[in-house]
């Protein structure tokens, strides 16, 4: 910024009445709008690109859900917006159809089963891993272990699924080794019966290590004085874990449980989509992939959007409900009361 603009700016900006300013930027009395606009216009300007992006790619699509109440025909016009304006309205027809849609209920059932598997098999792993890593005292060991365990979180789902295919697939390392020793090969990747366990296993491989980070931070924030005092009082290491460490983790566990329950209907979309053809939709179809299949693949946009709306509403109810329960149990949850 050149000197002249600085001067001009200093001249242009009206001086606020000194008495109304406290420390920091919080005004004690309300400043005149004209002054605040002059003062904050750059700040507002800076948020505009983000606001525009969210408007176009979050709020406009929200309004685009009206196609669920239409018989949307993509070929009625060249452009999706025009097609929406010209498609006929059908009211709640798609929602009524959903009630009798066997595939929808099967997708919902798969979604909930996978969620329950995640909750019971995935969720405890990061907590246990964090306690385990925390029990090592050498900083070097902890840093190296964390670096290795965080790594898969940064891999794409395509990579994770291909890695699993190379290990557990029909041509994978385990099948290959078994065959070499005269056994029959096996193929975990195309087994519909084990599919739900397979994807939970993949989630654990990819993200359990990363989940450790939050719990390690919670553990690091516990005052060592507590441990020392209880050790003086004769508590052994298991009693210290039970009475100090685990209570310290409680709020974080509650928060993550709320988040997990809130996301119950969104389970492993990309991951499942990549493996859908290998095991067939019967075992693998979840709500998100059902929306994708009906809408994007088969062009049933309106019905797919209706399924998406139902999923969104129940997802929101789950977040609010889980948060309510967290509050009732005396935890903070995602947002404050």
């Amino acid at each position: 910024m050149s000197l002249s603009t600085q001067d001009r700016r200093a001249r242009d900006t009206p001086k606020p009445p000194v008495t109304t300013r406290a420390a920091g930027d919080r005004p004690v009395a309300k400043l005149p709008l004209r002054y605040r606009l002059r003062r904050d216009r750059t700040l507002i300007l800076m948020t505009l690109p983000a606001v525009a992006l969210l408007l176009v790619f979050a709020y406009v699509p929200l309004a685009g859900n009206v196609v669920a109440f239409q018989d949307y025909d993509p070929y009625i016009a060249d452009n999706a917006f025009e097609a929406i304006s010209q498609s006929p309205w059908v009211g709640f027809e798609w929602f009524q159809q959903m009630v009798n849609d066997r595939l929808f209920w099967s997708a919902l059932r798969n979604t909930l089963v996978i969620f329950l598997l995640q909750l019971t098999l995935f969720f405890p792993v990061p907590v246990l891993l964090a306690l385990f890593i925390n029990s090592f005292v050498r900083p070097r060991v902890r840093a190296v272990a964390q670096a290795i365990l965080y790594l898969p979180h940064f891999f794409s789902w395509v990579l994770v699924v291909t890695v699993f295919q190379q290990m557990f697939g029909g041509a994978g390392l385990i099948a290959q080794t078994l065959r070499e020793h005269g056994h029959e090969g096996f193929d975990l990747m195309t087994d519909p019966g084990l599919f739900k366990f397979l994807i939970t296993f993949e989630m654990i491989w990819k993200d359990a290590g990363w989940g450790v980070i939050v719990f390690l931070a919670a553990l690091a924030s516990v005052s060592p004085d507590l441990y020392e005092a209880s050790a003086m009082d004769g508590a052994n290491r298991w009693r210290r874990m039970w009475h100090i460490t685990l209570p310290a983790l409680r709020p974080v566990v509650a928060l993550l449980l709320v988040l997990q329950v809130g996301n119950a209907l969104t389970v492993g979309f990309e991951q499942i989509l990549l493996q859908r053809t290998a095991v067939g939709p019967g075992a693998s179809e979840v709500l998100d992939t059902y929306v994708w299949n009906v809408g994007i693949t088969n062009g049933g946009f309106s019905y797919a959007a209706a399924v998406g709306i139902v999923k969104g509403i129940f997802g929101l109810l789950l977040v609010l409900g889980a948060n309510k329960i967290a509050h009732l149990m005396g935890e903070q949850g995602v947002y404050k009361k």
Partner: protein
């Protein structure tokens, strides 16, 4: 791995490397320490071993792969044939270039927009501060859904354009909140004195706030970059031209769906090159950037993950 093991061999002997455990803590038994060490090594091998196999196979010759009957665990000679063939033009070279360009351009764009927005929202009490913040936060509670988003991208004419790989997923509100929380913790006296010296908000952001927030900026940059690098779904629905597909989509075709790479049929058929080595080499190409970059930022992860959660 040796450094990992050296830390596990037993309790620190007083006088040699200092005592790491506080005096009141019981000395763990040697058996306990050893079994803990073994478990830790096994857990880490669970991550590293598959990657090892993939990398070794990608560097193996046709002969080695045939002898091993497929994937190679023990390397016998190293050859870069697979990489030479993949990167000497053709499908995978193009896809890698696409991925690199989209990742670089997208990350720069996302960071510019996010940093500006985070700074713009970092002063409580500024005009429109609350409504703008609410506008952002609300998007965390609802997702518009796949179908309407698809229709909007299509309606804007972004299909078959690289913009479709950047714009719809350019912002992560959580990342903005993390940056914002960090900017808010920047010493206000510095900002105040810069303003008195006549610096505008852009200049304060660029010369004071951003240099002071290097750690969190590194983390969020990594998060965005990994997001772009790993993305494949948007390309799978918005891009129909196979020449424009990024590396992840090509990897999906070549490895998961077992398609033969275009243009390499001859090399494979004449026995110069194993299709398996090609597949593994594609996987290594996809994993190298993240595996190399993420450890550098590791020490800042905690801040990047938690700051926003506390102050959001």
């Amino acid at each position: 791995m040796s450094s990992l093991l050296s830390g596990l061999t037993g309790p620190a002997r007083p006088g040699t490397r200092g005592r790491l455990r506080p005096v009141w803590e019981e000395e763990p038994s040697r058996a306990g320490l050893a079994s803990k060490g073994v478990v830790l090594v096994l857990v880490c091998l669970g991550v590293l071993f598959p990657l090892w196999v993939v990398i070794v196979t990608s560097l193996s010759s046709v002969k080695t792969i045939t002898e091993a009957g497929g994937l190679v665990v023990v390397p016998r000679g190293i050859t870069f044939v697979a990489y030479q063939e993949l990167l000497s033009g053709g499908q995978v070279t193009r896809a890698t270039l696409v991925s690199v360009c989209v990742t670089v351009a997208g990350t720069l764009f996302s960071m510019a927009v996010s940093v500006m927005c985070a700074y713009g929202l970092s002063r409580t009490g500024s005009l429109l501060h609350r409504p703008l913040l609410m506008f952002l936060l609300a998007t965390m509670f609802f997702g518009a859904g796949l179908i309407p988003t698809y229709l909007v991208v299509q309606g804007l004419g972004l299909t078959d354009s690289y913009l479709a790989l950047i714009l719809p997923s350019a912002l992560n509100v959580f990342n903005i909140l993390v940056l914002r929380a960090f900017f808010m913790s920047t010493a206000q006296e510095l900002i105040e004195s810069a303003r008195i010296d006549g610096a505008g908000d852009f200049r304060i952001l660029w010369q004071i706030v951003m240099p002071l927030s290097r750690a969190v900026i590194a983390v969020i940059t990594l998060f965005y970059a990994v997001g772009y690098w790993s993305a494949w779904f948007n390309a799978s629905i918005y891009i129909s031209d196979p020449e424009m597909l990024p590396l992840q989509n090509v990897m999906n075709q070549l490895v998961l769906k077992q398609e033969r790479p275009t243009g390499l049929a001859q090399v494979i058929n004449t026995g110069h090159l194993s299709p398996l080595a090609i597949q593994m080499a594609v996987m290594v190409l996809a994993l190298i950037p993240v595996a190399v970059l993420s450890p550098f930022v590791q020490k800042h992860f905690k801040q990047g993950m938690l700051t926003g959660a506390v102050k959001g």
